[in-house]
Each structure stands twice: as structure tokens, then as C-alpha cells.
């Protein structure tokens, strides 16, 4: 398993332009599979337009203590892109005035941003309804300075959403790295100990499942049932909901698909599983994604592909929700990942 990002390894797919070329060439250019644009045009959804803004998702940096094989951010310890306090100030101004009910902090490991705690404290003052931090769990066990994170999250009533690819050690470590499973289990137990994830507890703890390979997730509720049973029986761990997320064919996952000769079959699976009902609720229709350097995107995936919003407002310093809400959403073939089966988003299935 690699211990460095594609960027640090100077791999071809660290180049977003190259990724976009791949996603538009091959089986799509040959006409074997339809372009996403044509597919949604069939149901009158092109151009894709936003609905009401509900989620403001802020990526506070690509640095991470893990180098997961499927990571669409290409995050890792070697990534130096970290949101500065100045950009955070601009974000806070937006958070105080947004119509969105959910603030979603992601990364990398968001906790590794040196101003993370200050930012959370300031953002919490805005009284946003649902304040999510996407935590990879192992960060809590990575270093002494992170050990009190469960208490910190509790203090600000943070909704913790954590990745957990499987309830067995083998599958988890294969995707996320040696030792990740044991650390994740210990972190979940600590979150439970302060009240997170317990039945009827207002401290929300949800898990994110994404497949460890070139296949789509099965039914989210069935997976949730299996995860709940196994984690409770084996480790006495409880959590609220499981979000099943499809891996999108970008960045490290795209690199894996190509290297393992699964790319075409995976794209066929995504297109075959295309569900028009999922298009109505794809997350880019209710989300704005902000990058570490303040640029605005339709979603975290577009951010990683360098596809900025199609609006004259492109940066947080010029943020204007009304103007942004009139934009056309930027799409490419990776979008099939969000419309396959029951659909996929950072909040799980959508259809």
C-alpha cells in the first residue's frame, strides 16, 4: 500500500486535466456508454440546476494522517494545502449569513488544520442547525494532542461522521492501512464513552461505508443492520446511521481502477445502475463546497477535479448565495457515481 499521495509520487493522475480527459475519452467517446449530460437530458435535467442551498461543505485542508487507497482527495501526510485563518474568517462571515442548515467540515483530516479548534468554536457560535465534522477516527489515536477530541466534539455538539469501510480488520486495513481497524475501534469506543452514538443520545455519530474495491455498495439499510450487529456483538460499539457511499472514479480510486484493469467494467456498472430518481436529489443540488484556498465548487469531487462553480461568483470572498443559486452545475462522467442505484452523497443514499 502506498504511503504517499499521487501528487508526491508525481503520478500522471495527480493532474486533474488528465483525469477529466480519461473520463471523457474511451468508452464514452466511442459511444459505448452515454455521456452523463445526455443521460440527464433524457429526463429534462440538463443543465443541472441547484435547488435550495442546505449544506455548506468546507474542506479545511488535504493533509491527513492516512493514505487510503480509494481517497478522492489524494490526501496524506505530504499534502500541504491547509486553509489559513484568513480564509477561515471569510468562511465564518458566510456561515453567519448562510441560508444553509448544515455546516460540514471535511479534509484530509480536518482536525490536522492548526486552526481547526478555533474555527469550530467560532462557527458553532453561528448556531447552525447541524454541524458535521468528518473524522477518520484514527486521528483521535494518532497523537496525544488529539486524544480529547471526543470531549471537544461533545462540547460543541458536533455531529461526527466517520469512515469505517468494514466491521472486520482485514477489509478495513487493506483499504485504509495497517492498524487502522484497531485504532478506529478504540476511537469509536471512546466516542461511545462520552455519549456519542448511543440510542436516543443527541450526540450524533454516523458511519460512512464505502466499498473496498471495484464494486458498488449494496442496500444501505441492510449494510447498516450488518454493521450494527457486528460492531455491537464484537466490540460493544453503537452508532446511529450508516451512510453507504459509492466510490467515484477520480483521483486515487481512478488510479486503482486503471491499474487493476477494472475501469471500463466499473464505469459500465455505474451507467447500468443509473437511477433517474437519484438525479433529482444529487448533493450538488443542495450543496456548496469550499476548498482550502477559498474557491467554490458544486461538490467535493468537483473540487478535486479542479472544476470550479459555473458562476461569476467563484471565490468565498465574493460569496453571494443568490447569484450562486442561479448557476449551472458542472458535470462530467464521474457524476454517474452519485446517481447509481439508490444514489450516493456525503449523507448516504438519495433515492
Amino acid at each position: 500500500m502506498a504511503t504517499k499521495s499521487l501528487k508526491a509520487r508525481h503520478k500522471e493522475l495527480a493532474n486533474t486535466q488528465r483525469q477529466l480527459e480519461i473520463l471523457s475519452n474511451g468508452i464514452f467517446r466511442d459511444g459505448d456508454l452515454p455521456y452523463f449530460k445526455d443521460k440527464i437530458a433524457e429526463i429534462g435535467m440538463f443543465p443541472l440546476k441547484p435547488r435550495k442551498l442546505e449544506v455548506l461543505q468546507i474542506n479545511v485542508g488535504y493533509m491527513c494522517n492516512q493514505v487510503c487507497e480509494h481517497c478522492h482527495v489524494d490526501a496524506g501526510p505530504d499534502r500541504k494545502e491547509i486553509m489559513t485563518q484568513e480564509t477561515m474568517e471569510l468562511c465564518l462571515e458566510v456561515i453567519r449569513n448562510t441560508g444553509a442548515h448544515t455546516l460540514d467540515l471535511t479534509g484530509g483530516a480536518p482536525e490536522m488544520n492548526p486552526n481547526f479548534r478555533w474555527f469550530v468554536e467560532e462557527a458553532a457560535k453561528a448556531g447552525i442547525q447541524d454541524f458535521i465534522v468528518r473524522s477518520n477516527l484514527t486521528i483521535i489515536k494518532a497523537n496525544k494532542k488529539y486524544q480529547d477530541l471526543p470531549e471537544f466534539f461533545k462540547k460543541f455538539n458536533i455531529h461526527v461522521v466517520s469512515s469505517m469501510p468494514h466491521y472486520t480488520r482485514g477489509k478495513t486495513d487493506k483499504q485504509r492501512g495497517e492498524g487502522v481497524f484497531d485504532k478506529s475501534i478504540a476511537a469509536l469506543q471512546e466516542l461511545n464513552a462520552v455519549g456519542y452514538g448511543m440510542p436516543d443520545s443527541p450526540l450524533r455519530l454516523d458511519l460512512v461505508y464505502n466499498p473496498s474495491g471495484a464494486y458498488l455498495p449494496a442496500d444501505q439499510s441492510a449494510l447498516e443492520r450488518d454493521f450494527k450487529k457486528a460492531l455491537l456483538e464484537d466490540f460493544n460499539i453503537q452508532f446511529h446511521n450508516l451512510f453507504a457511499i459509492t466510490n467515484l472514479p477520480i483521483s486515487r480510486f481512478l488510479d486503482y481502477l486503471i491499474a487493476s484493469e477494472n475501469y471500463e467494467d466499473y464505469m459500465i456498472s455505474l451507467v447500468d445502475a443509473y437511477n433517474p430518481a437519484a438525479v433529482q436529489n444529487v448533493m450538488c443540488t443542495n450543496t456548496i463546497s469550499v476548498s482550502w484556498d477559498g474557491w467554490l465548487y458544486d461538490c467535493d469531487f468537483n473540487q478535486m477535479l479542479g472544476l470550479k462553480v459555473g458562476s461569476k461568483v467563484k471565490h468565498i470572498k465574493d460569496y453571494n448565495e443568490e447569484v450562486l443559486n442561479n448557476r449551472n452545475i458542472v458535470i462530467s462522467q464521474h457524476c454517474y457515481g452519485c446517481t447509481a442505484g439508490a444514489g450516493s452523497s456525503c449523507q448516504g443514499t438519495v433515492a
Binding site: 472486520t168 482485514g170 464494486y215 455498495p217 449494496a218 442496500d219 441492510a222 450488518d226 459500465i268 447500468d272
Partner: protein, 111 residues
């Protein structure tokens, strides 16, 4: 025309059998889909049974389909291999139990 009997891409075309016999094809797929729904057995358990049978009937399409289905459901490789052994044990048992017939015949014919 492919020059091999099995073409992996043909699995995706399975639904096309309905084009040449709509009534039977539709009835078959309705039945098939109904069988694999959650019931007294979970869809997960049925997926493992399907994987075992796929090996016994040696259907490469079904093996591909139910290995992928198992992965999607979070079924582990240990569970999959046990299912394959369950199928193989029944299949070899079915051969071996005929050994009793051989023994009976042997004994009948022998003085």
C-alpha cells in the same frame, strides 16, 4: 460471433433473452427477482446460497455475478469460500453416496 463459448460481456445482455420470448422471459425475471428479495431468509443468505450453487452448476456468469454481489453486501471472503465448500461437499457427497450402490451391487454379485 465470439470464438469462445463464454464471453464475460454477455452477462450484461442476459435481459435480452426476453426479446425472443417476452412472456417467458418476463415471467422468469419476475420470479428470479422475487426469489432474491428479503424473506424468511435474508437477501445476504440467499446470495451465499446462489454463490454455492453457481459453483456446483459451474456457471462462470453466476460466479462473477454472485462474487460481486457478495462483495457489495459486505460478505467476507471467508464466508464466500465456506459457501463454495458447502456446495462442493454436497456435490462430492452426491458422488460418494453412490458408493453404497456400488457396495450393494458388489455384495450381491459376490459369493
Amino acid at each position: 460471433m465470439a470464438n469462445t463459448y463464454y464471453e464475460p460481456a454477455d452477462l450484461r445482455k442476459f435481459g435480452k433473452i426476453t426479446e425472443w420470448s417476452e412472456e417467458l422471459g418476463t415471467k422468469f425475471f419476475d420470479y428470479y427477482n422475487k426469489v432474491f428479495e428479503e424473506g424468511a431468509l435474508s437477501a445476504r443468505e440467499k446470495s451465499l446460497i446462489a454463490l454455492a450453487v453457481a459453483h456446483v452448476v459451474k456457471c462462470p456468469y453466476c460466479i462473477d455475478a454472485y462474487t460481486k454481489d457478495g462483495l457489495q453486501r459486505g460478505i467476507t471472503k471467508e464466508e464466500m469460500m465456506e459457501a463454495v465448500h458447502a456446495g462442493a461437499a454436497i456435490e462430492s457427497g452426491a458422488t460418494l453416496v453412490h458408493g453404497v450402490q456400488m457396495m450393494n451391487k458388489y455384495n450381491k454379485l459376490s459369493m
